[in-house]
Amino acid sequence: MKRIAVIREAASTARDIGALVVGNIGFPSRELHAVDDRPDNFYMLGSMGLASSIGLGIALAQPERRVIALDGDGSVLMNMGSLATIASQQPENYLLVIIDNGSYGSTGDQPTATSQKTDLARVAKGAGIQNVHMIDILTDVRRMMEQVSSGVIVIKVEPGNADVPVIHLCPADIMERFMAQCARPFP
C-alpha cells in the first residue's frame, strides 16, 4: 500500500463528511492536491512539523466542523510535543492521521526512527491521547475515518512518492479559499 492510495481514500472520505483537511509538507500535499483539490484543503508548503499543530488550531477555532490533518512520521517526529498538546486539549472534532512510511519521502527516502524502533501509536498513547488506532489495510481507512472523529490513526504504508506535479496555487490563494470554507455556515 502506497501513501497516495491512503490519501485518495482519506480525501474522498473527508469530502463526504465535509471535513476540513490539512496536508503535510512536500509530496503528501502534492498528492492530496492531485487526487482531490478542493478549497477545504490547506496545503502546508513550508513549516515542517506543524501540520498537526495547524490542524489543532483550526479544530479549536471551528468546534462544529470536523478537522483532519494528514501528517507523516518524519513530521510528527519533528514535533512530538504536539501529541501532548492534542491530548491536553482533547478536541472532539480533530483527527490526526499519521501516514507512516518510515522514511523522509520528499528528501530521498532517508529512513526515519519509525523504520527502526519508534512506534508512533504508542508514543501517541503515552502522550495521553485516548483514541489511537492502527491500520494497515486500505479498506479500513474510510471505515475508521467515518467512525472516529478524534484522536490519532496511524497508517502503515510503503515508502515512495507518486509522480504528481508541484502545487501551482499561490500561498495567499490557498489560505483565502480555505478561510472562506471555514467562514461558510456549516449544516
Partner: protein
C-alpha cells in the same frame, strides 16, 4: 496599573480569543489571568514553534490569536514565522518577555537577549516597546498592525517593565 494587568487588558482590548503560551517567570501573573477568562481559549504548548502553528490554524478558522513567550523562544520559531506566517500572510501577536537585557541575573539569558531585536529585524518582524509600565495601548497597536499588514508583530517587555508598579 500593575504590568501584568496592563498586558491582560491589551489582549482583551484587541479581542484575543485564543492564546498559546510557553511560560516565563515574568509572565506567570498574566497566565493565571488567561486561565480565569471564559472568553479566551488558553493553549499551553510544549515549544514556541508549535504555538505558532496552532495560532496560524486558529486564525484561519476565524480566531484572534496571540502567543505569550520568552524571547528565547523566538529561536525555536523562526522557520515557522517565515515559512508559514510570512509565506501565507498570517497575522500573529507575539507578547515576549525580553530577558537577557538590563537587570538580568542569569548569564545564559544574555546571548539571545542581545540578539532578539537583531533577529526580529532580520525577519522583518516589527516590534513595539511600551514607553512606561502600561502595555495596554502598545499591545493593541501591535495587534492592529499585525492584522493590517498580515504578519507577525512582537511586543517586547523587558525586565524594567515587569519591575514597574
Amino acid at each position: 496599573m500593575d504590568p501584568a494587568t496592563s498586558v491582560f487588558n491589551g489582549l482583551k482590548k484587541s479581542g484575543i480569543d485564543l492564546i498559546t503560551t510557553v511560560p516565563c517567570a515574568n509572565l506567570k501573573e498574566v497566565i493565571l489571568m488567561l486561565e480565569d477568562d471564559p472568553d479566551i481559549k488558553h493553549v499551553p504548548v510544549t515549544r514556541e514553534e508549535e504555538g505558532v502553528g496552532i495560532c496560524a490554524g486558529a486564525w484561519m478558522g476565524g480566531g484572534k490569536t496571540a502567543m505569550l513567550m520568552q524571547n528565547s523562544g523566538l529561536g525555536n520559531s523562526i522557520n515557522a514565522l517565515a515559512s508559514l506566517n510570512q509565506l501565507y500572510g498570517i497575522p500573529l501577536l507575539m507578547i515576549m518577555s525580553h530577558r537577557g537585557v538590563e537587570g538580568e541575573p542569569i548569564c545564559a539569558q544574555v546571548p539571545m537577549g542581545e540578539l532578539t531585536t537583531r533577529l526580529l529585524d532580520a525577519l522583518v518582524i516589527p516590534y513595539l516597546i511600551p514607553d512606561d509600565h502600561d502595555a495596554e495601548q502598545t499591545i493593541h497597536r501591535a495587534w492592529n498592525l499585525a492584522t493590517a499588514e498580515n504578519k507577525p508583530v512582537a511586543v517586547l517587555l523587558d525586565i524594567p517593565f515587569w519591575e514597574g508598579a
